[in-house]
Protein backbone atom coordinates (compact mmCIF):
# COMPACT_ATOMS: atom_id res chain seq x y z
CA UNK A 1 0.00 0.00 0.00
CA UNK A 2 1.28 3.48 -0.85
CA UNK A 3 1.91 5.80 2.12
CA UNK A 4 1.43 9.53 2.10
CA UNK A 5 1.40 12.68 4.22
CA UNK A 6 -1.71 14.85 4.09
CA UNK A 7 -1.57 18.52 5.10
CA UNK A 8 -4.79 19.61 6.85
CA UNK A 9 -6.14 23.17 6.77
CA UNK A 10 -8.88 23.70 9.36
CA UNK A 11 -11.25 26.60 8.61
CA UNK A 12 -13.45 28.44 11.09
CA UNK A 13 -15.36 31.63 10.26
CA UNK A 14 -13.46 31.77 6.97
CA UNK A 15 -10.00 31.73 8.59
CA UNK A 16 -7.47 28.95 8.88
CA UNK A 17 -7.16 28.05 12.55
CA UNK A 18 -5.15 25.89 14.86
CA UNK A 19 -7.66 23.47 16.32
CA UNK A 20 -7.23 21.94 19.76
CA UNK A 21 -9.48 19.02 20.65
CA UNK A 22 -12.45 20.34 18.67
CA UNK A 23 -12.85 22.98 21.38
CA UNK A 24 -10.26 25.75 21.16
CA UNK A 25 -9.25 27.58 18.02
CA UNK A 26 -6.32 29.94 17.38
CA UNK A 27 -6.06 31.94 14.14
CA UNK A 28 -3.37 31.04 11.61
CA UNK A 29 -4.22 33.17 8.57
CA UNK A 30 -5.78 33.02 5.14
CA UNK A 31 -6.55 29.45 4.01
CA UNK A 32 -5.46 30.03 0.42
CA UNK A 33 -2.02 31.23 1.55
CA UNK A 34 -1.52 28.10 3.65
CA UNK A 35 -2.68 25.95 0.71
CA UNK A 36 -0.14 27.72 -1.48
CA UNK A 37 2.59 26.93 1.06
CA UNK A 38 1.62 23.24 1.21
CA UNK A 39 1.70 23.14 -2.60
CA UNK A 40 5.11 24.82 -2.70
CA UNK A 41 6.43 22.35 -0.14
CA UNK A 42 5.15 19.45 -2.26
CA UNK A 43 3.02 17.76 0.36
CA UNK A 44 1.36 14.59 -0.94
CA UNK A 45 -2.19 15.87 -0.57
CA UNK A 46 -4.12 18.77 1.00
CA UNK A 47 -7.30 18.34 3.06
CA UNK A 48 -9.42 21.44 3.62
CA UNK A 49 -11.79 21.09 6.59
CA UNK A 50 -14.44 23.78 7.06
CA UNK A 51 -15.81 22.99 10.52
CA UNK A 52 -18.71 25.47 10.42
CA UNK A 53 -20.54 24.17 7.38
CA UNK A 54 -22.18 20.97 8.65
CA UNK A 55 -22.89 22.40 12.08
CA UNK A 56 -24.72 25.39 10.59
CA UNK A 57 -26.21 23.42 7.65
CA UNK A 58 -24.63 25.90 5.24
CA UNK A 59 -23.57 23.46 2.50
CA UNK A 60 -20.00 23.43 1.17
CA UNK A 61 -17.87 26.58 1.12
CA UNK A 62 -17.51 27.10 -2.63
CA UNK A 63 -16.07 30.61 -2.24
CA UNK A 64 -13.23 29.23 -0.16
CA UNK A 65 -12.53 26.54 -2.73
CA UNK A 66 -12.47 29.10 -5.52
CA UNK A 67 -9.92 31.20 -3.62
CA UNK A 68 -7.67 28.18 -3.14
CA UNK A 69 -8.01 27.00 -6.75
CA UNK A 70 -7.22 30.52 -7.95
CA UNK A 71 -3.71 29.88 -6.58
CA UNK A 72 -3.41 27.18 -9.29
CA UNK A 73 -2.13 24.58 -6.91
CA UNK A 74 -0.97 21.27 -8.40
CA UNK A 75 -1.31 19.20 -5.22
CA UNK A 76 -4.32 16.88 -4.86
CA UNK A 77 -7.09 18.63 -2.91
CA UNK A 78 -9.70 16.97 -0.72
CA UNK A 79 -12.60 18.96 0.82
CA UNK A 80 -14.58 18.25 4.01
CA UNK A 81 -17.49 20.31 5.31
CA UNK A 82 -21.20 20.66 4.70
CA UNK A 83 -21.71 18.16 1.88
CA UNK A 84 -25.41 17.22 1.91
CA UNK A 85 -26.07 15.41 -1.36
CA UNK A 86 -24.82 14.51 -4.83
CA UNK A 87 -25.41 18.03 -6.16
CA UNK A 88 -23.05 19.47 -3.52
CA UNK A 89 -20.45 16.81 -4.32
CA UNK A 90 -20.58 17.31 -8.09
CA UNK A 91 -20.41 21.07 -7.64
CA UNK A 92 -17.31 20.70 -5.44
CA UNK A 93 -15.54 18.52 -8.00
CA UNK A 94 -16.50 20.98 -10.73
CA UNK A 95 -15.14 23.86 -8.62
CA UNK A 96 -11.77 22.22 -8.13
CA UNK A 97 -11.86 19.56 -5.41
CA UNK A 98 -10.24 16.28 -6.46
CA UNK A 99 -11.78 14.25 -3.65
CA UNK A 100 -14.63 14.72 -1.17
CA UNK A 101 -14.55 13.80 2.52
CA UNK A 102 -17.78 13.32 4.45
CA UNK A 103 -18.48 12.42 8.04
CA UNK A 104 -21.93 12.63 9.58
CA UNK A 105 -23.76 12.20 6.25
CA UNK A 106 -22.93 8.49 6.32
CA UNK A 107 -24.96 8.26 9.54
CA UNK A 108 -27.66 10.87 8.89
CA UNK A 109 -28.36 10.08 5.27
CA UNK A 110 -26.51 6.96 4.09
CA UNK A 111 -28.50 6.84 0.83
CA UNK A 112 -27.13 10.25 -0.19
CA UNK A 113 -23.62 9.22 0.86
CA UNK A 114 -23.81 6.09 -1.28
CA UNK A 115 -25.27 8.04 -4.20
CA UNK A 116 -22.21 10.32 -4.08
CA UNK A 117 -20.00 7.24 -4.14
CA UNK A 118 -21.95 5.70 -7.01
CA UNK A 119 -21.67 8.80 -9.18
CA UNK A 120 -18.14 9.96 -8.31
CA UNK A 121 -16.64 6.52 -7.78
CA UNK A 122 -15.53 5.38 -4.33
CA UNK A 123 -11.93 6.44 -4.99
CA UNK A 124 -13.14 10.04 -4.82
CA UNK A 125 -14.73 9.63 -1.40
CA UNK A 126 -13.10 9.63 2.06
CA UNK A 127 -15.14 8.83 5.16
CA UNK A 128 -14.18 10.67 8.35
CA UNK A 129 -14.82 9.20 11.80
CA UNK A 130 -13.89 11.08 15.00
CA UNK A 131 -12.98 8.69 17.83
CA UNK A 132 -12.53 8.80 21.60
CA UNK A 133 -11.56 6.24 24.22
CA UNK A 134 -14.10 5.50 26.96
CA UNK A 135 -13.48 2.81 29.58
CA UNK A 136 -10.60 1.40 27.51
CA UNK A 137 -12.88 0.98 24.46
CA UNK A 138 -12.91 2.95 21.23
CA UNK A 139 -16.11 4.93 20.71
CA UNK A 140 -17.33 7.27 18.02
CA UNK A 141 -17.67 10.97 18.72
CA UNK A 142 -20.46 13.28 17.57
CA UNK A 143 -18.79 16.68 17.26
CA UNK A 144 -22.12 18.37 16.47
CA UNK A 145 -23.41 17.45 19.94
CA UNK A 146 -19.98 17.13 21.62
CA UNK A 147 -20.75 13.66 22.97
CA UNK A 148 -19.25 10.23 22.59
CA UNK A 149 -21.40 7.66 20.81
CA UNK A 150 -21.52 3.87 20.57
CA UNK A 151 -18.50 1.57 20.71
CA UNK A 152 -16.90 1.30 17.29
CA UNK A 153 -17.75 -1.79 15.25
CA UNK A 154 -15.19 -2.02 12.39
CA UNK A 155 -17.40 -4.52 10.55
CA UNK A 156 -20.02 -1.78 10.08
CA UNK A 157 -17.41 0.24 8.15
CA UNK A 158 -16.40 -2.78 6.10
CA UNK A 159 -20.07 -3.30 5.20
CA UNK A 160 -20.10 0.25 3.87
CA UNK A 161 -16.60 0.03 2.43
CA UNK A 162 -17.85 -0.13 -1.12
CA UNK A 163 -19.01 3.42 -0.51
CA UNK A 164 -15.64 5.02 0.22
CA UNK A 165 -11.94 4.52 -0.45
CA UNK A 166 -10.32 5.42 2.86
CA UNK A 167 -11.49 5.86 6.44
CA UNK A 168 -9.94 8.84 8.22
CA UNK A 169 -9.89 8.23 11.97
CA UNK A 170 -9.53 11.34 14.13
CA UNK A 171 -8.13 11.27 17.66
CA UNK A 172 -10.47 13.92 19.08
CA UNK A 173 -8.89 14.21 22.52
CA UNK A 174 -5.32 14.46 21.24
CA UNK A 175 -5.99 16.71 18.27
CA UNK A 176 -3.74 19.77 18.56
CA UNK A 177 -1.38 18.14 21.06
CA UNK A 178 2.23 17.09 20.47
CA UNK A 179 3.18 13.52 19.60
CA UNK A 180 0.08 12.08 21.23
CA UNK A 181 -2.02 10.15 18.69
CA UNK A 182 -3.35 7.13 20.55
CA UNK A 183 -2.37 3.76 19.03
CA UNK A 184 -5.36 2.26 20.84
CA UNK A 185 -7.59 3.82 18.19
CA UNK A 186 -6.03 1.66 15.49
CA UNK A 187 -6.39 -1.63 17.34
CA UNK A 188 -10.07 -2.35 16.51
CA UNK A 189 -9.39 -1.92 12.78
CA UNK A 190 -6.49 -4.39 12.55
CA UNK A 191 -7.26 -7.30 10.27
CA UNK A 192 -10.10 -5.55 8.48
CA UNK A 193 -10.01 -4.63 4.80
CA UNK A 194 -9.98 -0.86 5.35
CA UNK A 195 -7.45 1.76 4.21
CA UNK A 196 -6.93 4.19 7.13
CA UNK A 197 -5.83 7.81 7.37
CA UNK A 198 -4.79 8.81 10.91
CA UNK A 199 -5.21 12.37 12.19
CA UNK A 200 -4.83 14.15 15.53
CA UNK A 201 -1.70 14.68 17.58
CA UNK A 202 0.77 13.36 15.01
CA UNK A 203 3.92 15.49 15.03
CA UNK A 204 7.09 13.34 14.96
CA UNK A 205 8.95 11.20 12.45
CA UNK A 206 9.18 8.28 14.90
CA UNK A 207 5.43 8.35 15.37
CA UNK A 208 4.78 8.46 11.61
CA UNK A 209 7.26 5.66 10.88
CA UNK A 210 5.55 3.55 13.51
CA UNK A 211 2.09 4.22 12.05
CA UNK A 212 3.29 3.45 8.52
CA UNK A 213 4.40 0.00 9.68
CA UNK A 214 0.72 -0.84 10.07
CA UNK A 215 -0.27 -2.50 6.80
CA UNK A 216 -3.70 -0.87 6.56
CA UNK A 217 -2.60 2.74 7.23
CA UNK A 218 -2.33 4.54 3.89
CA UNK A 219 -1.75 8.09 5.17
CA UNK A 220 -1.21 10.31 8.16
CA UNK A 221 -2.73 13.78 8.28
CA UNK A 222 -1.07 16.72 10.00
CA UNK A 223 -2.44 20.18 10.59
CA UNK A 224 -1.22 22.58 13.22
CA UNK A 225 2.43 21.60 13.37
CA UNK A 226 2.94 22.26 9.64
CA UNK A 227 2.26 25.92 10.18
CA UNK A 228 5.14 26.68 12.50
CA UNK A 229 8.15 25.45 10.53
CA UNK A 230 9.29 25.75 6.93
CA UNK A 231 8.88 22.48 5.00
CA UNK A 232 8.51 20.44 8.23
CA UNK A 233 7.25 17.41 6.32
CA UNK A 234 10.74 16.86 4.90
CA UNK A 235 11.80 16.02 8.44
CA UNK A 236 8.64 14.03 9.18
CA UNK A 237 8.87 11.35 6.53
CA UNK A 238 11.74 9.20 5.39
CA UNK A 239 12.30 9.72 1.67
CA UNK A 240 11.44 6.75 -0.48
CA UNK A 241 12.13 5.90 -4.12
CA UNK A 242 8.86 7.62 -5.04
CA UNK A 243 9.81 10.87 -3.30
CA UNK A 244 13.09 10.92 -5.18
CA UNK A 245 11.33 10.14 -8.49
CA UNK A 246 9.05 13.13 -7.91
CA UNK A 247 12.09 15.37 -7.94
CA UNK A 248 13.94 13.95 -10.92
CA UNK A 249 12.28 16.06 -13.59
CA UNK A 250 13.92 19.21 -12.37
CA UNK A 251 16.87 17.76 -10.51
CA UNK A 252 17.62 17.29 -6.86
CA UNK A 253 17.86 21.02 -6.25
CA UNK A 254 14.25 21.73 -7.13
CA UNK A 255 12.71 24.03 -4.55
CA UNK A 256 9.08 23.13 -4.90
CA UNK A 257 6.07 22.69 -7.11
CA UNK A 258 6.18 26.31 -8.20
CA UNK A 259 9.60 26.13 -9.84
CA UNK A 260 8.05 25.34 -13.18
Amino acid sequence: MLKRLVGVITIKDGWAVQSIGYQKYLPLGRPEVIAENYDRWQLDEILVVDIDRTKLNMGPNYDLLEKIIAKRIMTPLCYLGGVRNIDDALHLINKGADRIAIDSLFLRDPESALEISHVLGRQALVRVQPLVIRNSEVHGYDYLRSISTAKIDPQSFVNMNYGFSELMIVDVENEGKINSFSDELIAPFRGYNLQLICFGGITSQIQISSLFKESNISAVAIGNSLSYTEIPHKKLIIQTEVDIARMTSFGAMTRGARDW
Binding site: L77, I93, N94, G96, S165, I244, R246, T248, W260
Partner: protein, 194 residues
Protein backbone atom coordinates in the same frame (compact mmCIF):
# COMPACT_ATOMS: atom_id res chain seq x y z
CA UNK B 1 -0.25 31.48 -26.24
CA UNK B 2 -1.75 28.12 -27.26
CA UNK B 3 -5.41 27.43 -26.46
CA UNK B 4 -6.43 23.98 -25.25
CA UNK B 5 -9.93 22.62 -24.72
CA UNK B 6 -11.53 20.72 -21.85
CA UNK B 7 -14.57 18.58 -22.64
CA UNK B 8 -17.04 19.21 -19.80
CA UNK B 9 -19.25 16.14 -19.63
CA UNK B 10 -20.36 16.59 -16.04
CA UNK B 11 -17.90 14.45 -14.09
CA UNK B 12 -14.49 16.02 -14.47
CA UNK B 13 -12.40 18.04 -12.04
CA UNK B 14 -12.70 20.91 -14.49
CA UNK B 15 -11.52 23.83 -12.34
CA UNK B 16 -8.58 21.84 -11.04
CA UNK B 17 -7.36 20.97 -14.54
CA UNK B 18 -8.08 24.45 -15.85
CA UNK B 19 -6.04 26.03 -13.05
CA UNK B 20 -3.06 23.77 -13.73
CA UNK B 21 -3.14 24.43 -17.49
CA UNK B 22 -3.44 28.17 -17.00
CA UNK B 23 -0.56 28.01 -14.56
CA UNK B 24 1.51 26.50 -17.37
CA UNK B 25 0.65 29.43 -19.62
CA UNK B 26 -2.12 27.98 -21.79
CA UNK B 27 -5.49 29.53 -22.54
CA UNK B 28 -8.31 27.15 -21.69
CA UNK B 29 -11.64 26.75 -23.45
CA UNK B 30 -14.26 24.65 -21.69
CA UNK B 31 -17.03 23.17 -23.83
CA UNK B 32 -19.58 20.38 -24.01
CA UNK B 33 -20.31 20.49 -27.75
CA UNK B 34 -18.45 19.86 -31.00
CA UNK B 35 -18.92 23.49 -32.03
CA UNK B 36 -17.54 24.91 -28.79
CA UNK B 37 -14.34 22.86 -29.14
CA UNK B 38 -13.89 23.21 -32.91
CA UNK B 39 -11.03 25.71 -32.76
CA UNK B 40 -8.64 23.88 -30.46
CA UNK B 41 -6.03 21.30 -31.47
CA UNK B 42 -5.76 19.64 -28.06
CA UNK B 43 -8.80 18.48 -26.06
CA UNK B 44 -8.68 17.09 -22.52
CA UNK B 45 -11.14 14.49 -21.33
CA UNK B 46 -10.83 14.73 -17.54
CA UNK B 47 -12.40 12.25 -15.19
CA UNK B 48 -13.44 12.05 -11.57
CA UNK B 49 -16.47 9.79 -11.53
CA UNK B 50 -17.85 6.37 -12.20
CA UNK B 51 -17.55 4.72 -15.62
CA UNK B 52 -21.29 4.16 -16.30
CA UNK B 53 -22.23 7.69 -15.23
CA UNK B 54 -19.51 9.15 -17.47
CA UNK B 55 -20.54 7.06 -20.51
CA UNK B 56 -24.20 8.05 -20.02
CA UNK B 57 -23.23 11.72 -19.93
CA UNK B 58 -21.05 11.42 -23.05
CA UNK B 59 -23.89 9.72 -24.95
CA UNK B 60 -26.47 12.27 -23.83
CA UNK B 61 -24.23 15.05 -25.10
CA UNK B 62 -23.52 13.18 -28.34
CA UNK B 63 -19.82 13.50 -27.60
CA UNK B 64 -19.20 9.74 -27.81
CA UNK B 65 -19.73 10.02 -31.58
CA UNK B 66 -17.62 13.17 -31.69
CA UNK B 67 -14.69 11.35 -30.03
CA UNK B 68 -15.00 8.33 -32.35
CA UNK B 69 -14.89 10.60 -35.40
CA UNK B 70 -11.86 12.50 -34.06
CA UNK B 71 -10.09 9.22 -33.31
CA UNK B 72 -10.46 8.00 -36.90
CA UNK B 73 -9.83 11.40 -38.50
CA UNK B 74 -6.72 11.99 -36.39
CA UNK B 75 -7.23 15.72 -36.70
CA UNK B 76 -6.95 16.66 -33.01
CA UNK B 77 -4.94 15.56 -29.98
CA UNK B 78 -7.16 14.11 -27.24
CA UNK B 79 -5.76 13.52 -23.76
CA UNK B 80 -7.86 11.39 -21.42
CA UNK B 81 -6.99 11.59 -17.74
CA UNK B 82 -7.79 8.81 -15.22
CA UNK B 83 -11.41 7.86 -15.95
CA UNK B 84 -11.02 9.82 -19.19
CA UNK B 85 -8.36 7.31 -20.28
CA UNK B 86 -10.41 4.29 -19.20
CA UNK B 87 -13.33 5.45 -21.37
CA UNK B 88 -11.17 4.95 -24.50
CA UNK B 89 -11.32 1.17 -24.01
CA UNK B 90 -13.91 -1.47 -24.88
CA UNK B 91 -15.39 -2.45 -21.55
CA UNK B 92 -15.20 -1.77 -17.81
CA UNK B 93 -16.00 -4.04 -14.90
CA UNK B 94 -17.29 -0.91 -13.16
CA UNK B 95 -21.02 -1.31 -13.71
CA UNK B 96 -20.32 -3.94 -16.46
CA UNK B 97 -20.35 -1.10 -18.97
CA UNK B 98 -19.29 -0.71 -22.60
CA UNK B 99 -16.73 2.03 -23.25
CA UNK B 100 -15.96 4.05 -26.36
CA UNK B 101 -14.11 1.07 -27.85
CA UNK B 102 -11.42 3.20 -29.47
CA UNK B 103 -8.50 1.13 -28.15
CA UNK B 104 -8.54 -2.63 -27.60
CA UNK B 105 -8.49 -3.44 -23.91
CA UNK B 106 -10.52 -3.83 -20.75
CA UNK B 107 -10.85 -1.98 -17.45
CA UNK B 108 -10.55 -4.24 -14.42
CA UNK B 109 -11.05 -3.78 -10.68
CA UNK B 110 -8.12 -4.07 -8.26
CA UNK B 111 -8.28 -7.20 -6.12
CA UNK B 112 -9.88 -6.81 -2.71
CA UNK B 113 -11.61 -3.64 -3.93
CA UNK B 114 -8.48 -1.71 -2.94
CA UNK B 115 -7.96 1.83 -4.17
CA UNK B 116 -4.60 2.91 -5.57
CA UNK B 117 -4.27 6.32 -3.94
CA UNK B 118 -1.07 8.31 -3.68
CA UNK B 119 2.25 8.81 -5.41
CA UNK B 120 3.80 5.96 -7.35
CA UNK B 121 6.62 5.42 -9.79
CA UNK B 122 5.91 5.38 -13.51
CA UNK B 123 8.33 3.44 -15.71
CA UNK B 124 8.59 4.35 -19.38
CA UNK B 125 8.47 1.71 -22.13
CA UNK B 126 10.78 1.84 -25.11
CA UNK B 127 10.15 4.86 -27.34
CA UNK B 128 8.10 6.52 -24.60
CA UNK B 129 7.74 10.27 -24.34
CA UNK B 130 9.00 9.84 -20.76
CA UNK B 131 12.76 9.52 -20.53
CA UNK B 132 13.11 8.07 -17.03
CA UNK B 133 11.23 6.84 -13.97
CA UNK B 134 9.11 9.61 -12.47
CA UNK B 135 6.64 9.96 -9.59
CA UNK B 136 2.99 10.84 -10.25
CA UNK B 137 -0.24 11.03 -8.23
CA UNK B 138 -2.80 8.26 -8.70
CA UNK B 139 -6.36 7.90 -7.45
CA UNK B 140 -8.30 5.01 -8.95
CA UNK B 141 -9.81 1.66 -8.07
CA UNK B 142 -9.87 0.20 -11.62
CA UNK B 143 -6.99 -0.29 -14.05
CA UNK B 144 -6.56 -1.02 -17.75
CA UNK B 145 -5.40 -4.23 -19.40
CA UNK B 146 -4.29 -3.64 -22.98
CA UNK B 147 -1.63 -4.46 -25.57
CA UNK B 148 1.97 -3.46 -24.93
CA UNK B 149 1.93 -1.95 -28.45
CA UNK B 150 -0.09 1.04 -27.20
CA UNK B 151 1.60 1.26 -23.79
CA UNK B 152 4.10 4.08 -23.30
CA UNK B 153 4.57 3.67 -19.55
CA UNK B 154 3.46 1.44 -16.71
CA UNK B 155 3.28 1.33 -12.94
CA UNK B 156 2.89 -1.36 -10.32
CA UNK B 157 0.20 -1.77 -7.68
CA UNK B 158 -0.88 -5.35 -7.06
CA UNK B 159 0.14 -5.93 -10.70
CA UNK B 160 2.02 -4.18 -13.51
CA UNK B 161 -0.47 -2.11 -15.50
CA UNK B 162 -0.37 0.55 -18.26
CA UNK B 163 -0.60 4.16 -17.11
CA UNK B 164 0.27 6.00 -20.31
CA UNK B 165 -1.15 4.78 -23.62
CA UNK B 166 -1.32 6.16 -27.15
CA UNK B 167 -3.16 5.18 -30.29
CA UNK B 168 -3.62 7.49 -33.27
CA UNK B 169 -3.62 10.95 -31.66
CA UNK B 170 -5.34 9.87 -28.43
CA UNK B 171 -3.24 9.78 -25.25
CA UNK B 172 -4.56 8.15 -22.10
CA UNK B 173 -3.05 8.92 -18.70
CA UNK B 174 -4.12 6.85 -15.67
CA UNK B 175 -2.50 9.17 -13.12
CA UNK B 176 -3.29 12.86 -12.60
CA UNK B 177 -0.61 15.04 -14.25
CA UNK B 178 -2.58 18.15 -13.25
CA UNK B 179 -2.03 17.12 -9.61
CA UNK B 180 1.50 15.78 -9.88
CA UNK B 181 3.43 18.98 -9.22
CA UNK B 182 6.72 19.29 -11.13
CA UNK B 183 6.65 15.96 -12.93
CA UNK B 184 3.02 16.43 -14.00
CA UNK B 185 3.68 19.94 -15.24
CA UNK B 186 6.55 18.74 -17.36
CA UNK B 187 4.50 15.92 -18.90
CA UNK B 188 1.61 18.27 -19.74
CA UNK B 189 4.00 20.66 -21.45
CA UNK B 190 5.52 17.78 -23.42
CA UNK B 191 2.10 16.52 -24.55
CA UNK B 192 0.62 19.89 -25.46
CA UNK B 193 3.71 21.56 -26.84
CA UNK B 194 4.34 25.25 -27.17
Amino acid sequence: MKTVGILDYGVGNIASLKGALEGLGYKVLIGATETSLSKVTTIFLPGVGSFPFAMDNLRQLGMDKFLRIRFEAQDVEVIGICLGMQLFFEHSEEGDCEGLGLIEGKVKRFAGRECHVGWNIVRPSENSILSKNSGYYFNHSYYVECSSKVTLASSNYQTEFPVLVKENRFHGIQFHPEKSQNTGAQLLKTLIGA
